[in-house]
Each structure stands twice: as structure tokens, then as C-alpha cells.
Amino acid sequence: MREITYLEAVREAMSQEMRKNDDVYILGEDIGVYGGAFGVTRGMIEEFGPERVRNTPISESGIAGAAVGSALTGMRPILELQFSDFITIAMDQMVNQAAKIRYMYGGKGKVPMVLRTPSGSGTGAAAQHSQSLEAWVTHIPGLKVVQPSTAYDAKGLLKAAMDDDNPVIFYEHKLLYKTSSDVPEEQYSLPLGKADVKREGSDVTIVATAIMVHRAQEAAEELEKEGISVEVIDPRTLVPLDEETIVKSVSKTGRVVVVHEAVKRGGYGGEIASMIAESEAFDYLDAPIKRLGGAPSPIPYNPELEKSHVPQVPDIIQAVKETLNKA
């Protein structure tokens, strides 16, 4: 198998589907000859033309609504938002329209669309271009929310998202675009709602999302040297959430650290923690559930401050030890 980057995996997933299905098209700002803010669509307009790689004005509400309307009438649009922060502007269309149309209409009509958008900090883009706002959309029934952490997952999950008949918010992490993994050339689909155990262990479970999956794995390697066996679970999709895999793991280890980059307060980690507390895993918890997330401040510009805003490997190691009373 060959190795490609996360970014290439996303592009390949879209291109392969667009070759097969004329209803699939992509729209967004600067996705044409520019190739998108992060270069994900580079080369696509040359292959598919400006009709299907549709460069739009800077109108997040308008283009989100156009995507929803076209999905409702038979297309399968992929909407690229340059930065996930800009979902604030498209929010009405995603939350009040896309998510609710099917239900409001008594099951008539569907909105098969994918909103792809890069999120996360670490690029020095500061407060308005670095956020992780996925928890907002997880709160909305009718939306599905995907957060791949590897190139392999990105390609398979994006295929599943494009095949899904519901609006799917697909978060790509900017710092992961350049990471590589083995990715099959052919199309494949990874089911939405199936977590992946990235590493098996017996002492503590870490539930991590997006880039934190990588940091958790690094932490686990460090901890192994000290004889601490860590299981790392990547939910991959926040909605639907694979509760079973998480509950099973926590029941086994009795200890859990939930870690994401998004601000801890009101973050999706709270949902995961609550779910665990409400589940049968409760009776196996042998330490308080630990959450790690971003600091309660906007993302700062200064690189050191920016780094300290979000959990790093030593923070995860420390949290794991705290659950083991070894800190």
C-alpha cells in the first residue's frame, strides 16, 4: 500500500466520488485555480471544471444555503468553508435549515451534503482562525459530525459522509493535513459511528479526537516505559458516537482521560464523560473521569501561549498519572 497525506486523502476521496457521481460537486471560496485555503482542492477544477468545482463569493450564509437547497433538490454538494471559525456565519443555514428540514417536513425531503472545514490551532492564525467549534454542531439533532485523525480514516470517513443522506459536518485538522499513512488507492467507506481503538491497553483509557489522538498515542508510549498500559480510543465520529466501544474500554480499565483541543468548558468531552458516567462503566470507574481541553481564552497569537492553550503530550501524561494516583 502507498502512503499519502491526510490532505491528499481528502482530495482523493472527493475526486473519486466526483468521477463516479455527477450529482456530487464542491463549492466554496477560493477552491478553484487557487486550490482552496489549504490546497485541498488543488488540481480539481482542472479535472472537473468550474461547474462542479464552484468558486463562490465570500458569502458563507449564501453558499451554505445554496448547498442545502441544492441538496434538497437532488444534488450532493460538498461545501468547503475555509476555516471552521466561519461556520458562525453559515450557522443559520446549517442549524435552522439543513439539520431540521427533514424532521420539520415530516420525513419528506433529505439534505445529503458534506460541510468540510479545517479546524484547530497551531498555525499562528490566532483567535478567529484557530478554533475547534465541533461541540456546537454536535448539539444539533439532524447533523452528523466527523473528526478524522489519520489519512486512512479521512478518506474512508469522507466517503461515508458523501454517501450519507444527511448533512455531515466534516472537521479536518490543519496540522494533520501533512501527516501521512497507508491509504488504499481504491474507494472504501468507514462507517459513521464506529470508534477506532488506536492502541490497546489495560490501565487507563484515553478518548481523544483529531490531533489529540496522536498526542495521546505519544503519551501512551511514554507511559508504557513506566509500566502504565494505556488504551487510546478515537471516536472518529462525534455524532453518531460509538458509545459501546468507549464503555467497554472504560469498564475494562476503570480509568479514563478524555482529551480534545476544543475549549474544555462546554466541549464535547463533557458529553463523553457524562455518557460514561451514565453507562454501565460507572461501576467500574476507579478514579474520577478526567477531561483535558483548551484553556478558557481565545487562541492567542504568541506561539508559546498558543501552545499552552491546548493540551500537549506532558499534560496527557500527567492526567493519566493523576487517575492512577501516581502524579
Binding site: 460537486y25 453558499i63 437547497g69 441544492s70 433538490t73 443559520d92 443555514q93 417536513y105
Partner: protein
Amino acid sequence: MAEVKKLNVPEKITDDKLIDLYKQMWQIRFFDEKVDEFFAKGMIHGTTHLAVGQEASAAGVCALLDVEDKITSTHRGHGHCIAKGATADRMMAELFGRTTGYCKGKGGSMHIADVDMGNLGANGIVAGGIPLAVGSALTAQMKKKDYVTVCFFGDGASNEGSFHEAVNLASIWKLPVIFVCENNQYGMSGPVTEMVNVENIATRSEAYGIPGVVADGNDIVEMMNVTDEAVQRARNGEGPTLIEAKTYRWKGHSKSDAKKYRTREEEKEWRQKDPIKRFKEVLVEAGLLTEEKAEEIRLEVKKEIEDAVKFAEESPMPTADDLLTDVYA
């Protein structure tokens, strides 16, 4: 029998269609008046927005549409639904929250949709449906389909960002969409004269390089004619048109509105411009309708609405089991 005068209406509007439209305007009026009565009596819950007095724009615009054509509507959308082919019984059932309603009782007044009939739905968000209409038009263009999409919205919505974003998108892509702004003079309590700094909202089209037309929204004949032109432009690939229908809602914004923001004199003045009465006079003068026949139609529709109420009342309620169905496809 008096001589029949040829009315100045679009070619596709037959004499029979004119009589149908007269009937349809009464359907819209009686439906909303009945809803008004039920809300007043507390027989249906939630809220509602009535289009009494605005029947001509809904009926006139939709008269030019085929089943394949689409509309998006607003919170004041009962008239648009009826004009696009919805039946009063299932609409009433929806307002009664019954499973036989267009949305199985889950949408209510503000969300009646009938996707099969090209009605992409009323919308509770001001200007929320405008980008959707653009998306629908984009589908027609990309799939090379012949249908047009009419987007109804109000004077208030024309101040929303998504209106401007959507009209801009439609204009640069020359999409087959007709923006119909029903200017009923008030966005809730806000008079259009205070909220918009141009005399005619239609002139906002100039900013996007598309035609803008001001029409008398209480004159169904004029509404049909301007719509006909816009539909033809759209079907010919010439892009969108913005139509402003000047009209007036007789009732308050929603069910509990003391209407302190306007005078009773103003209301009386607009009632003189009753679109149904005006259309009847035109039809009678043209020899297409008699006063007796007009009254017959009115009573017939009244009965029809009573039957719709009966249908709704006798329809089953959804059960708790229905709560979580249709959240996801």
C-alpha cells in the same frame, strides 16, 4: 350573456384558470380567517402568521408555475402553500398537529412543506429560505432541468445578509430563480419606511445587475404579468428577477398583536384595496363571472374549509413513538 372581454393576462392563463384563481384566493382567505378564529379560541396552539389581504401575490405568482417548479416560502406561508397546490384539509391537519398533516404534525404553521408538489417549505427564519431557493435553482442549472424556483420573502427579509448573499449568488451564476418580495409594509412592527432607505425594495436589484420590478401586490392580474416575464427570463437562462409586490396584511403580525404601530385609518384604506374584491370586479366586468356565481364560489369554498376542519379534527394524533423518527434519513 354579456360579451366576454379578453383580459390582459399571460397567454397560458385560460378563462377557467381565472375562475380557479378567484376560488383559490377565497381558499387562502377563508383558511387564514378560520385559523385566526381557532387561535383566538385557543383551539390550536403555537403561533401563526396570516396573509389575509395578501392573496393576490401568492395566487398570481403561482398561477404561472407548473408542478415541477419550486417555491420557498416564509413564516406567512399558508397562501403560498395553497397557491402551489396544497389542500386545505392536510394543511389544517398540520395546524392541528395531526399525523395526516403535511408534516405529520411535526412542522406546524411555520414549516408546511410539500416537496413532491415543489413546495420546498415555509420557513421560520426571516430570509432563511432565500439561499435555499438559490440552491434549488443551482440544481436546475447543473442538472439542466427546466424548472424555475420562486422565492417568497418579505420586506423585513430584504435587510438580512442572506438575502444579499443569495441574490448575488443567483446573479453571478444566472440562476433560474424569481425573488418575490411581498412588501406588506411592516416587518413585525417595523414600518418599511423606517427600516429601508429606498422607496422601492425592487431597486436593490440594481446592486446585483438584475431586473427589479415594482408591482401592485393586490392586483392579481398585474402580479401574473410581471411573474410571467420573470419566469420566461429564468427559463431562457437570463437569470433572476426581483419582484416587489406592494401589499398589506390585514391582520397583526402574529396571533397576539395589538397593532399599535399603525393606525386604524391606514388599515381601512388598505381594505378598500381588497385584492379579492378587485379581481371579482375585473372578472365580472370582463363577463367571465357573475355576482351570483361569485357568491356561489365563495360559499362553496367556505364549506370546503369547514370540511377541512372536520378532517383535521377527526385525524389521529401522533404518538410518543413518532418523536424520534425522521431526525435522520
